[in-house]
């Protein structure tokens, strides 16, 4: 390997000095250049840093898929489990040691497809863990098949004429399952992710963060950065996140309003 020149070395030193990056492990993420997951990674790290949680007190549990690799890139304890099973495993970790901050992370195929049966129960059990769903509406690691949140008509290798199924709406699901903290976010806004993620971690129950993101390699048609930037907008001012009916109406009326959708027991 070539020794970095003085400019690059200075940049590396600055990055290393910055506490903000301390939650990154030494592993270079295997995500494609331009992947939205980098933004989510930055957001989660910012939240953990901001809350001042020691690295060794955090466990990140994941399933399978591009997002499943997250624990390797996180300077925390990690458990990379089987496809779809991050939530029950995270539940076990939290019950065993409530002093740990436990995050479950995974993609839409992992969390809404193979593991779709666990979200209702994690929501109603209300165990104090945070679940971040990286929703790019495609199976990336298996190279581009439709996911449960792909739109009707989405063309992929296994749906050459477009999918015929209707997409799942994860925010709506979590709300109706009774999750006590529900937020919808956008990978292009790590700052918002960090801010609301920190609230979610502080929330004394199950917090669900649904993050819209883009797969730059296998989706050139639907959730592209251009489209997402055009569609995503903040939840209108005046929305009361403690009002369940208002939260349901918001989600039913608007697929792309982002921010804190619902929190039982007010903000705190």
């Amino acid at each position: 390997m070539k020794t970095p020149g003085p400019v690059l070395a200075e940049q590396i030193r600055r990055i290393e000095d910055s506490k903000l990056f301390s939650f990154r492990s030494g592993q270079l993420p295997t995500w494609c250049p331009g992947c939205g997951y980098f933004g989510i990674h930055a957001g989660i790290n910012a939240a953990l840093w901001q809350l001042g949680i020691p690295h060794h007190k955090v466990v990140v549990v994941s399933g399978i898929g591009c997002a499943g690799r997250y624990p390797f890139f996180s300077n925390t304890y990690g458990l990379h489990t089987t496809h779809g099973r991050s939530l029950p495993v995270a539940t076990g970790v939290k019950l065993a040691n409530p002093e740990l901050t436990v995050l479950a992370v995974g993609g839409d195929g992992d969390g809404l497809g193979i593991g779709g049966g666990h979200l209702p129960h994690a929501s109603r059990k209300d165990v104090n863990i945070s679940y971040v769903l990286f929703d790019n509406s495609i199976y990336g690691l298996t190279k581009g098949q439709p996911s449960p949140s792909s739109p009707t008509g989405f063309k992929t290798k296994v749906s050459p004429s477009g999918t015929t199924e209707r997409p799942l709406n994860a925010t709506l699901m979590a709300l109706s399952y009774g999750a006590s903290f529900v937020a919808r976010l956008f990978a292009g806004e790590p700052g918002r992710i960090g801010e609301i993620m920190a609230q979610g971690i502080r929330h004394p129950g199950f917090s669900f963060l649904h993050v819209y993101t883009s797969c730059v390699t296998f989706d050139k048609e639907y959730k592209t950065w251009d489209h997402l930037k055009e569609w995503v907008h903040p939840i209108p001012e005046g929305h009361d996140p403690s009002n369940f009916r208002a939260a349901m109406n918001l989600v039913l009326d608007d697929d792309f309003a982002t921010g804190l959708v619902y929190q039982r027991g007010g903000n705190g």
Binding site: G78, L79, H80, P88, V89, G92, L95, A96
Partner: protein, 591 residues
């Protein structure tokens, strides 16, 4: 005085109080100092017209198997009991309701079907209960009173048992039940005085711990509690559910937590999560649930996370026979799941072993960082045995985790390749040891690595743990050990009880037959088993499955083809079936 060994059966329709009456017989007789082995069989449906049968083998010596025959039949419903008539021995006794609440069709009358040598005791169960307690609900207790009087069992034994069973329901219930029992007792004493049977002889009272009636499932739960169980996750399934129900009450009392999960996959997932974070965790299931768990069990193998899983086997495949017994999950337990996934499988053979081996499984799981499967079966889980209360050994709750050395110079490697295969394990929350565990093949540090050298090295490492664990796994036990044997019989799980008794009978007859009890199913003590087999001309492996799954696993250790005795009736294998096979192999005639 000849040694007492009788089987008493209560048979009725669901709702007749059959199981309650059987339970009282077990409790009363064990209070008198007799040894009891009892097993209930009931339908998988909650209501409806299913037959309930409780069978209790009662005697002076401890028994580990049930025969098919019956000496005393207490019928609470003659139509249901008819099917039991062929199993009555000569000189049996039958108690029946001669004025049942609903008329019995003539062709179902028990009296018309039994052999003339059978003593018939017809009593108006319902009328007597109605007189004693105002309703016929206590007719099972009237029947019990009749049985006690005819066999001259001291009535206080049963009365104590009744008080114990019903005291939580209040004094009125206790009293009305005692009155029903007494009514039956008085009636039988008056009417049958001339036909009173040989009294059941009770041994003199011995000092020592009280005897308790313990089921396999309760013993498993108690063993887990005494091992320091902290978290239980489960999903209801017959016959494992009683473990969860028992722990739901007891685990919180000891500061632990139980959570019913949405399915078996979630249950094993949470167990792995719990153990990953350093707390003893467990789940229990049966075949269909176990099948769902296998992927995550192999994750435990790959990520070197401990787990304890009880597989209470029932008949299969698929949903199979939910309330019947079988030993056909052995292949699934040892080999189930993707890849070369080395795990530990142990199988208790009786209720006390359920307690001790469950406890042991936590130590093994923790010490070797590996999933441990405890294989039981319906017959072992749901039978009750009169046993001295099991007591944990000194080191049984001891933390067996191999922690990293805080003074180590080199950077921490969670999956370090060692001679024993065991690497130091850090727990989340410990500073300075951050790592990620994964189900992917990985390096010593835990990072994904699919290179050929790494995969072979790591697979070898994981299998080395089994070699090391063998030292801690219970060795096979020989019964009636002699130098050379004409025949050796190998048994495992609950079926070993039947092997034990059959081999005893053969030895009493002077045959050169021995038995080998196997509790370490995988890994197994190859040398000890081969040594036993090499001293036998023939080897018979008797098990409750069609394929001969244990025979498939260890048969090659014998220089000749092993003989298989397999039965899949859903019922335990009676010792007489094995005994007959022994005679057949040795060319002896049954006399």
């Amino acid at each position: 005085m000849s040694k007492l060994d009788i089987t008493v059966e209560v048979c009725g329709m669901a709702g007749d109080g059959t199981i309650a009456a059987g339970g009282l017989i077990n409790e009363g007789m064990s209070r008198g100092g007799l040894s009891v082995l009892a097993f209930d069989s009931y339908p998988a449906e909650i209501r409806g017209f299913g037959r309930c049968v409780t069978r209790s083998r009662i005697g002076h010596e401890r028994r580990t198997a049930l025969e098919e025959h019956t000496h005393v039949l207490i019928s609470l419903n003659d139509e249901q009991s008819l099917s039991r008539v062929p199993f009555l021995t000569d000189l049996s006794a039958v108690f029946f309701d001669n004025r049942p609440p609903a008329p019995v069709p003539e062709e179902s009358s028990l009296a018309a079907h039994v052999e003339p040598t059978t003593a018939l005791f017809g009593m108006p169960f319902s009328d007597l209960a109605a007189q004693a307690a105002g309703s016929d609900r206590g007719r099972n207790l009237v029947a019990l009173g009749g049985f006690a009087a005819v066999f001259q069992v001291p009535s206080e034994l049963f009365q104590q048992a009744i008080v114990k069973k019903f005291k939580s329901k209040g004094q009125k219930v206790v009293e009305s039940n005692v009155r029903c029992f007494q009514a039956g007792y008085a009636y039988a004493q008056e009417r049958f005085s001339e036909r009173l049977r040989d009294p059941i002889s009770f041994p003199p009272r011995k000092e020592g711990p009280d005897i308790v009636m313990l089921s396999g499932n309760t013993a498993i739960a108690e063993g887990a509690l005494d091992a320091g169980l902290h978290l239980y996750f489960g999903y209801p399934i017959t016959p494992a559910t009683p473990i969860m129900e028992y722990l739901a009450k007891k685990l919180p009392e000891r500061g632990g937590r139980l959570m019913q999960m949405e399915d078996e996959i979630a249950s094993i997932g949470a167990v792995l999560g719990g153990f990953f974070a350093g707390k003893r965790s467990m789940t229990a299931t049966s075949g269909p649930g176990f099948a769902l768990m296998t992927e995550l069990i192999t994750h435990g193998v790959m990520s070197e996370t401990p787990a304890v899983i009880v597989d209470a086997q029932r008949g299969g495949p698929a949903t199979g026979l939910p309330t019947k017994t079988e030993q056909s999950d052995l292949h699934a337990a040892v080999f189930g799941g993707p890849g070369d996934s080395a795990r530990i499988v142990i199988a208790p053979t009786d209720v006390l072993e359920c307690y001790h081996l469950t406890m042991k499984s936590f130590q093994l799981a923790e010490k070797y960082q590996i999933p441990v499967i405890v294989l039981t079966d319906f017959f072992l889980d749901n039978r009750v045995e009169s046993v001295p209360p099991p007591v944990a050994g000194d080191g049984d709750g001891k933390d067996m985790t191999v922690y990293p050395d805080p003074d180590a110079k080199e950077p921490y490697r969670r999956f370090k390749i060692t001679e024993s295969g065991v690497s130091p394990r850090a727990l989340p929350g410990m500073e300075g040891y951050i790592f990620t565990a994964t189900g992917l093949e990985h390096t010593e540090k835990g990072l994904p690595d699919y290179t050929p050298e790494n995969h072979s090295k790591m697979t070898e490492k994981r299998y080395r743990k089994l070699r090391s664990a063998l030292e801690d796994l219970p060795s096979p036990v020989e019964q009636a050990p002699v130098g050379r044997m004409d025949l050796g019989v190998v048994g495992w799980g609950s079926n070993f009880g039947s092997v034990h008794e059959a081999v005893n009978r053969a030895c009493e007859r002077g045959l050169k037959v021995g038995a080998l009890k196997l509790t370490s199913i995988y890994p197994y003590h190859e040398d000890a088993i081969r040594d036993f087999m090499s001293r036998c001309d023939e080897v018979l492996i008797a098990e409750l499955n069609f394929e001969g799954q244990l025979a498939n696993l260890i048969g090659h250790l014998h220089r000749k083809e092993v003989i298989r005795l397999n039965r899949v009736t859903g019922l335990p294998m009676p010792p007489s079936v094995i005994y007959k096979k022994i005679l057949e192999i040795l060319g002896e005639t049954d006399s």
